[in-house]
């Protein structure tokens, strides 16, 4: 029997499958179901500073009253909303701890440095075992340079690390010129893990109804290759843990991620599509591969994977198709 136990962010996981931050990890019932089907851990649905801001604005609009009579009450009401949000999060964490035995990773997405670390501290206080910083924002301002963006992100990471003791991971986007450098910078700042990669809300145009609509929500089974490439390339070059995320839809892909060196693998879309019961299939699929290749534990899987990826994964460093690398005749 294969042993799937692994360590991610210093946390003991009974297996490397994490249910990623999403609607699936927003309620206790859903989380308990995921764990019952075997999930090794959960990353809770992100807390968004933006949501609190929007909620505050809504309250302002509805409750301000004539002559702005409620202004003094509402002026800083966002702090109250924030407190309520954290109260709910704390209750959720308490419930997860009472009803399951998996570690709880919380996730945040904020605007400003100050909020990042204050949210982080509040989540640590609420009992989170680890923290995932959902860091990326679309760099929509055209006068902001890559250095400035990196400086901003580094500042956030540094401050968060200063304020919390629990392990911190950073969820990144693949869209950086110097992704390797960024990961190594974060590694040097003491980040405990890097999650590759974030998936974004994508606006799309609804031609029938002449309006902006949401683009495809779920990842597709072919989306995994970027994660696979970067995990394989970075595995030997950084000290922090690596978590694969995006496009992991089948047991095969999950196993591939482990071979590439992932310490944990996050799944979301495939659970939405196939239901929580599919977690069992994913895990048993991995076990089958391990048995077939006579690997008894995750460490052996990693070692086996290393052998497939010699010299820092030269194969993974190729960007363009060439006869030598691709079997396709062009």
């Amino acid at each position: 029997m294969a042993d799937l136990k692994t360590k991610y962010l210093g946390l003991e996981l009974k297996n490397p499958l994490l249910v990623g931050s999403s609607g699936l990890t927003a309620s206790i019932d859903s989380i308990v179901k995921m764990v019952d089907y075997g999930a090794g851990g959960v990353v809770l649905k992100s807390l968004f500073e933006e949501e609190i801001i929007l909620e505050h604005e809504k309250n302002m609009k509805e409750k301000l009253g004539s002559q702005e009579s409620n202004l003094e009450f509402l002026d800083y009401f966002d702090y109250q909303l924030k407190e309520n949000t954290f109260k709910k999060q704390r209750e959720l964490i308490d419930e997860i701890k009472a009803k399951t035995d998996v570690p709880v990773i919380t996730s945040i997405n904020c605007y400003s440095v100050g909020e990042w670390f204050s949210y982080a501290k509040l989540l640590e206080d609420a009992g989170a075992d680890a923290l995932e910083l959902n860091l990326y924002r679309i760099p929509s301002k055209i006068n902001v340079t890559a250095e400035e963006i990196l400086r901003g992100y580094s500042e956030i990471v540094k401050r968060v690390k200063e304020h919390v003791q629990i392990p911190v991971s950073v969820k990144l986007s693949p869209y950086f010129t110097d992704l390797g450098n960024i990961v190594s910078q974060f590694d040097l700042l003491g980040v405990d893990g890097i999650v590759m990669f974030n998936r974004f809300y994508s606006p799309d145009i609804d031609l029938e109804n002449d309006r902006i609509a949401s683009g495809p929500i779920y990842s597709s089974p072919n989306d995994y290759t970027d994660s696979l490439r970067w995990i394989a390339m970075l595995k030997e070059q950084v000290t922090c843990d690596l978590s694969a995320s995006g496009g992991v839809h089948t047991p095969d892909t999950l196993f591939k991620m482990l071979l590439a060196g992932a310490d944990s693998v996050q799944v979301v879309s495939t659970i939405y599509k196939n239901g929580p019961g599919y977690i069992r299939d994913l895990l048993s699929g991995v076990e089958k591969w391990m048995e077939r290749k006579q690997l008894t534990n995750i460490e052996e899987v990693h070692r086996f994977g290393r052998k497939l990826v010699p010299n820092h994964g030269e194969v993974f460093e190729r960007a363009q198709f060439m006869k030598y690398f691709g079997q396709h005749e062009q």
Binding site: M60, E72, F73, L74, D75, Q80, S112, V113, G114, E115
Partner: protein, 500 residues
Amino acid sequence: MDKQDILKQERNAAWRKELRDKIKNKERTGFTRVEMPEADPIERSRSYVEVNSGLSAEEAVLEARRCLDCANPTCITGCPVEINIPKFIKNIERGEFLESAKVLKETSALPAVCGRVCPQEKQCEASCFYTQKLKKPAVAIGYLERFAADYERESGNVSVPDVAESKNKKIACIGSGPAGLSFAGDMAKMGYDVTVFEALHQIGGVLKYGIPEFRLPNDVVDVEIENLKKMGVKFETNFIVGKTATFDDLKEEGFEAFFVGSGAGLPRFMGIPGENLVGILSSNEYLTRVNLMEANKEETDTPILKGRRVAVIGGGNTAMDSVRTALRLGAEKAMIIYRRSEEEMPARVEEIKHAKEEGVEFMNLQNPIEYIGDAKGYVRQARVQRMELGEPDASGRRRPVPVEGSEYLLDVDTVVVSVGVSPNPLIPQSVPDLKTTDWSTLVVEEDSLQTSVPLMFAGGDIVRGGATVILAMGDGRKAAKAMDEKLSGVAKSEVAADNK
């Protein structure tokens, strides 16, 4: 006859016509608005003397002449309790000051208080013809209201409203703040036997523990309370309904109906790192120590932090009260840290002006994100982030957006957090049937202010969250009227509070 007709009829009184004919409107609008005489900023900022010293009779009459006694007095609609503004002002113009005070008391239980603490610039004065149509400074309605009320009080001729024959019905009023006092007054007028229960050792609620002496002297409040006592209202201090006695206990003792005006007594904090360091306190605590416990006085036992560098977080009236109190306690540097700009501040314009005159430093578009203490746990610095205003949001206010990389450390030794209060949970805790909203205010029927519990009404901040004194008073009146209707079992609303 509806309200409009009554107003019209009163406007047609001979004396009013005569006044109108005496001075042409053109001439009236040519007069400049009176300035409120104020204590010297340097001197007053170190003492507790009332800042506004009030208009003289002469000044009041001159200002009253500016009022055009409009056919359609829009100012009244700007007043939450619909004081008959032209009528009280014209009484001042003709020198009938006591009569003017009586007009105020027809609808307001605490005119001397409202004249001092209402945000008139957003209410009556915002709806004044001068503001609306002439784009000139409004008639100083607030100053005049205060003048008439003060004149009556100082004359020693305070009129006690008539009280109807006793109905022998015991009513409990929980809380002695503006909502409770106004409720108690109206119920007493209607002949009910009202007992007001107050948790603290002094009557007056926020008027006592919250608003400082330099803005609202306690004597002014006490006179109004004395008046209520003369009308037969009973007061029990040191009594927490739900704790000292339960609602059931009180029912057993014969109380038939309840009004909950227990206020919003739970201070809000920001939840940022370091906020529990020594030297960081709520404005409620800071102001209570000074206003209620008189900690500023040498001979009292209550201690107060006399900070040298005091930062007050917030932009409301409570923040202004706190920062000005800090000055009076001897602060070398008293600062307001507010994350929006002055334009968005909830505080009364006059309070902001006074604070500035007294030397308060306004650090607008800034927000603390963390506090840093020394080894003994005393706050020493605040990490402050600069903000800029973004696009106007749905409510029309511009949202403060942090400027990245703008943080800096500010030396402080006392921080007063004044970012609002939440409703006090004591009452809902002791009456489980009482429905509350998401923000823990009580759910009431809009017209009657009846809660989810029969014969239990509520008003003021426990319902609104945090509003003005005058709105709380308006609630008290509304609840009194509804309660009376309920208790008498007949719709006799016309007879009740209005036709006194």
